[in-house]
Structure formats: structure tokens, C-alpha cells
Subunit: 418 residues, 2 copies
């Protein structure tokens, strides 16, 4: 079988499964999720062995420590995946919800009913837990999933998919619900991106290169996720102590994620009061600051930022800092350089808060809170398959509802159109 | 300026306009729509002259009568476009609606607020009224629009866009809100499909070739519209008189549109009772019937259908007819050949109606009503920009709400993530 054929066959199986999954009972889906959770624990040893092959290969190829850490499975991480599936089982089933309904003057009753998307393709990198998370969320929302993980985690991904797929079918879910592409040939991924007749949506999860490649090559509809060049603007009226805590949290609590802050904008009128202690605190937390000319003049020893610093999602303990004339310049800077992910203003001024919220075009706009809250769990959606940075279909954290579509059901008694 | 440059410049202008349009008052948008409506009437003579150039060119190229008719503007048609804009002005403004809102345990208040999509690209063919319809709906939903019409209607489209764009800006809408690409060079359309940094969504409106080309070439998110290979299934328990009226309506009332029926499926047990009079009636209405072998055996003189007939969207007075064993075979046939647009069952049997509604995967599923009702106005959405046949973002008739996205607005008092 060629890589293209493998992809096609697996997508066909997924499509057949999806037709039945659309009306599978919540009970069966939940039982399957619990069985999957149990089997991950049961087959822990098998998983750790498969994973050690990936880890060994990465080490032989002199992968970075961070990379090896992302690959690594442990008892604790397997427990967390298993627990994640149990949590998804507890969430309400989105399928079948009547989103809206009304009656027309001619007597037609129109209902808008939530249905699954169908077949969801996931193209992802390194972290093997995506295999389990994505499969669990897709199943709960009534979708079949076709997984295409990175070559660096292929042994772990195949082992995980094998275990959860078998557990699911034994619990009464149709064969084909969880499919994984086993070849690491690029041609298989290319094929997945172009099977419009079999795949309803593609969700890429990974770095900028992966996402760009999917957008460039896919004819299947894509939900763009994850790139976050996020800003915090400290307004003239800000509570500066609050601002400092929020900046430290947004930069340092977990710097490698998309909702971490990458550029700090400070109103000129408070720059000399705010920046010296802010930058001292950042330095003491190990953050490298790259400042605009004004920042560099205020604080000696600060490295000067280049144009590309305003564009960069560092995903590391680096922060660009810029002094701006006012709210207007802050909004213009964010509009120019932002990736429409998460943007925050720290202010005590009501009209400024309103203007920021209204004029900033991003998935999540915060007033007096850390950008790190852009997250399915933190928003209360229960779990997330990714964070959309496009405007079509879903924006921001995507939970179970965002993995569904709807159909119109129209009940008549012989109506014809005049 | 090259075609690519023209497209880029116009999309840049649209993007700048979109940033302001996002928070323009409903009042200003409505005044602009009314001014556009007035100016179409006022400048009628200018429009008719521009249109006559297109009509003349089409006649010289020996275009079909149907094609020339689609191109043609008349006083009556200009009145209808103007009236359409007035109706859009009357519709509620979708922007700013708080779709949902809740408070988190840590005190964060999360609101999901409806916002415009941003810049909408429309790629369309022949009918110049799309220019006005699309611009009106996009403006009302706070979007800038970049129009790319077919070469056959280019003079009409440019004249229409000029008039409504000027009227809109004079009424206080930002310059760039309504942009039209004037070159008919294909490179301009190709560029529009790939300007991800400037265009938020593309909506193709036209035939299968146009839509396929956009899906193949676009990197900008696309909403697929309009292809409808629609079915009516006459169940064993159907009220046969009702079935006959619905089939005639769905085939004959306007055969050239996407929600017209293309294949009639009939349960074997009522075929001999139903089909003779049904086919006689169809013939008397000028419909050519292409039947399966069983149909041909029942009714002499019926042309036998080929495999491709089950796949064809005729958009004409032709109907494929197939006798099926039961509901199950009907569902399987629709699943195999349908385009997920509009599907109907005629039945008096409650479980069969339920099963059809549950198992058919289409934008609109009808019980005892004509497929012709899949339409924004008929559904009560007020107006429509197209009928989506994909599952992402919107499905079925797309009105003003479907031309919007949302953002999360999060209000805090210093919250940081643990």
C-alpha cells in the first residue's frame, strides 16, 4: 500500500464510522471513553516500551532536552491522559441539542439541531498526549478522527491509538472511529489535506511551520490554531502593582505556550515609574528584555529591540518592551503585529477599557487579567482541542461544541413554495 | 498596476475599512444602505447603459438565452435590488450581540460577543445583482467586501459597485468598505484566494467549476456554497397526492436553482400506484424523466437512466427516478450521491420520518415539504448570501449572523493563573 492509499483507506473507514457515530447514544460513547481510560492504565508497560523507542531515537539524533521532554511518557503522564478521558466522559454530550427552533407563517416548523462535524483530521507534532486528547474529544462530539502525528513520536502514537481504538470498539463504538496513519511519509499527510470527499475539517496542532504548511496545501477546510504573539498594554491609569503581577504571570508561569505574553506596551506617562522595577523583577525571574529606544534610555543595560522582535512569538523567557504615546498607539501596534490570539489592557480607566475591548480584534481581549487564561479549562468549556486564531467557525478555545456543526430539520404537512 | 497589485491594494483598503466598520453604529450602516438604495434608482440610466455593453458582448459571443437573461438588468430588476437593500436596512444588526456570558470561580467575567468577520471576498459569475446583495449584507454585518465578478458582467458590476460605494461613503461609511476588482485577469482572482493576511473568508457563488476552482486554489478560508443534488423519497406510507404536489413544486417551480429536486426515489410497494400518474403529470409539465430499470418496466417510453444521472445536478426540467426497496436503500442512495444540500421524505409513518431525519446528513432535511424551502427568506433569516454545503462555520442558508464571528471579552480585577 502506498502512503496515499493508506490515508485514503483510513479516511474511508472513518467516514463509514462517522455515519453511525452521528446517532450513537451518549451512554455508549461515555462507556467507550471510560474503557479507553482503563486500558491506558492497564497497558501502561506496553506504552512505556513503545515510548522508549521514540525517546532513544530522539536522543541519538541529539534532540534538545525540551524536545525529549515533550516526547516522554511516564506513569504520571499516562495517568493524566487517562484522567482526561474520564473528564470528557463527564461533560454533557453536545450532539442533538436543539440550538434554535421556530414556526413559519405557512406552518413549517424549523429546528436547528446540533450534529457532529463528521470526520476530523488532526495533524500534530511531538506530544503523544494529543493522540488521546483529540480522539477522546472527537468521539464525545460524535466525530471519527484520523490522526497524523509527527515521526518523532510515531511509536508512542501508534501504541496509544491501538489501545484506545480497541477499547472503544469493544465498548460498542463503530470500527474506524479512531484511525491513525502509521507511515511517516509526507505523501500521506499531503493526501489527508486533499481528501475533501472524506474529511470534513483539518485541525493542525503544532508550530508555525506545521500550521503554515497545512494552510498552504489543504483543500479540506482548516481551523488555524495556536500562534500567539500576545501583548499586555499598561495604560496611564493602571494599578502598577497589579500590572507587574500580571506581566510576571503572563510571561513566566509557562513561557512555551501560545497564550504567554511576548510584548509589553507601556504608556509613556508611567514608563519611568513602572519600567525600572518591572524590568528588575523580570531579570530576577530570568527573563531577557528587548526594549525600544525609550526603554533602553530609561534602563541601562537593556538590549535594544529590532523590528523583528515585535513580530516574534518567542515561546521562551524573552520579552519585548515598547513605550507608546497613548492607548491609540498601543492599539495600532497590536493591530499591526498581533496574531489575533490574546491581548490585555491593564487600566483603571473605564472609557479606555471600553475602547481597547471594542477596537482590538483578537480571539480573547482581557481587562486586568493575565493572557494565560485563554484556555478551554480556564474558560469553563471543560477541555479543548486547540485555540482557533481564525474567525471562521470557531474563535479562541475550542471545546466540544466547536467540534460540531448543525442541520436544519423542517417538518411540514404538504407545504409547497408559491 | 498588475492584476495582483490591484487585488492587493483593494484588499488593503478593505482591511483598513473593516477595522472601523467593526464598531460603526447601526444607524450609520442603515443610512448608508438606504442611500445606496436611492442611488440605484437615481442612476438607473447609467446602469442600463453599462449593462447594455455586457449584453451586447454576450450576444456577439452567441451566449445562450438563459445566460443573456441572467446578465440583463431592467428597471424592474434595479427596483428589486434597491428594495433588497431597504429590507436589509430593516433587519436587526447582528454585531455586538452578547451570545453568551458567565462568571468563573476566580471572579473573571467572560462574555462571548458577536463581531464582524472582517474582510469578505466574493467570487461570482454572471448575475450582476450579486454585486448589490453581497455588498448590502456584508455592510450590515460590519464587514468590508472585495467583489470579483465574472468578465461577462464586468461593466454592469463596476457601474453598480461605483454607485453603491460612493453612496455608502457619503453616508459616513469608511472608504474601502465596498471594493471591486476591475481587471478580469485570472491572476487577480488567484491573488484574492491567497491573501490570508488581508482576507478573512471567501464565498464563491456560481457553478460547480467556479466553486471547485476556489476550493482547489484558495489558502484563505472558504465557505462552499450551492451545489444541490437534492432528492425526494416517497415512502410506502406517503400521502401520494401530497407527494405528487411536492415533487411538481420541487422540480418545476424554478428548476435552475440549487434547491430544486434532481432525483425522485420511490418505495417499491407504492411504485406501481404512484409512478404512472406522477410521470404523466411531469411530462405534461415538460419534464424529461430518466428512470431506473424498474421505472422503465412500469412506464413505457421512459428513457433509462445511466449511472451519471444519479450524480447530476441538472438545474433543468429533467428528473431521475429510482424505485428502491425501502427506507434503508433510499438513505443509502442519498448518502452515496447527495451533496448534503436539501433532502426530503414524504411519509405518514412516524418512525420512518424520525429515521430519515436522523440519518440523512444534509444542510436541510424535510418531512412532507418541498426542498425549495431551503432559502434565507423562506427560513425567516431575512436575506441570504448563499447556501453553505459544508459543515464548518455555517450550514444551509447564510444570513447576517453567518457573516459574523465572535470574540471573548474577559473582565478581571488582577487575576493571574495559578
Amino acid at each position: 500500500m502506498t502512503p496515499e492509499e493508506e490515508t485514503t483507506v483510513k479516511c474511508q473507514r472513518a467516514k463509514q464510522a462517522a455515519a453511525q457515530l452521528a446517532y450513537l447514544s451518549s451512554q455508549t460513547k461515555n462507556q467507550a471513553l471510560l474503557a479507553m481510560a482503563d486500558q491506558l492504565i492497564e497497558r501502561q508497560q506496553f506504552l512505556l516500551e513503545a515510548n522508549s523507542a521514540d525517546v532513544k531515537a530522539a536522543q541519538e539524533q541529539k534532540a534538545s532536552e525540551a524536545m525529549v521532554d515533550r516526547l516522554l511518557l511516564s506513569e504520571k503522564r499516562i495517568d493524566a491522559m487517562s484522567e482526561g478521558l474520564r473528564e470528557v466522559a463527564q461533560l454533557p454530550d453536545p450532539v442533538g441539542e436543539i440550538i434554535a427552533g421556530w414556526k413559519r407563517p405557512n406552518g413549517l416548523e424549523i429546528k436547528k439541531v446540533r450534529v457532529p462535524l463528521g470526520v476530523v483530521g488532526i495533524i500534530y507534532e511531538s506530544r503523544p498526549d494529543v493522540t488521546v486528547d483529540a480522539a477522546g474529544l472527537c468521539l464525545k462530539a460524535g466525530n471519527a478522527v484520523v490522526l497524523r502525528g509527527g515521526s518523532e513520536a510515531i511509536n508512542s502514537n501508534i501504541a496509544l491509538a491501538k489501545i484506545i481504538s480497541r477499547a472503544a470498539t469493544q465498548a460498542g463504538v463503530p470500527e474506524g472511529t479512531i484511525e491513525i496513519i502509521e507511515t511517516t511519509d509526507r505523501a500521506a499527510a499531503q493526501q489527508l489535506m486533499r481528501l475533501n470527499s472524506l474529511v470534513d475539517v483539518l485541525i493542525p496542532r503544532g508550530g508555525a511551520g506545521l500550521i503554515q504548511s497545512v494552510i498552504e496545501n489543504a483543500t479540506v477546510p482548516v481551523i488555524e490554531t495556536g500562534l500567539g504573539n500576545c501583548h499586555i498594554f499598561v495604560d496611564a491609569s493602571a494599578d502598577l502593582a497589579m500590572a507587574e503581577e500580571i506581566v510576571i504571570n503572563a510571561k513566566c508561569q509557562r513561557p512555551a505556550v501560545c497564550n504567554a505574553v511576548e510584548t509589553l506596551l507601556v504608556d509613556e506617562s508611567v514608563a519611568s515609574k513602572f519600567l525600572p522595577s518591572m524590568i528588575k523583577r523580570l531579570s530576577s525571574e530570568g527573563v531577557e528584555v528587548r526594549g525600544c529606544a525609550k526603554t533602553a534610555r530609561l534602563i541601562s543595560g537593556v538590549k535594544e529591540a529590532a523590528e523583528e522582535d515585535w513580530e516574534t512569538e518567542y515561546l521562551a523567557l524573552i520579552l519585548a518592551v515598547k513605550v507608546v504615546a497613548d492607548l491609540k498607539e498601543a492599539i495600532a501596534h497590536i493591530t499591526q503585529y498581533g496574531t489575533k490570539h490574546s491581548e490585555a489592557i491593564i487600566t483603571q480607566d473605564y472609557p479606555n477599557a471600553q475602547e481597547f475591548v471594542e477596537r482590538i480584534d483578537a480571539a480573547a481581549v482581557f481587562v486586568n487579567a493575565s493572557t494565560r487564561f485563554t484556555d478551554g479549562n480556564q474558560f469553563g468549556l471543560g477541555a479543548e482541542i486547540g485555540i482557533s486564531t481564525q474567525k471562521l467557525h470557531a474563535r479562541g478555545p475550542m471545546g466540544l461544541e466547536e467540534l460540531t456543526s448543525y442541520k436544519y430539520v423542517v417538518a411540514g404537512s404538504g407545504q409547497v413554495r408559491e
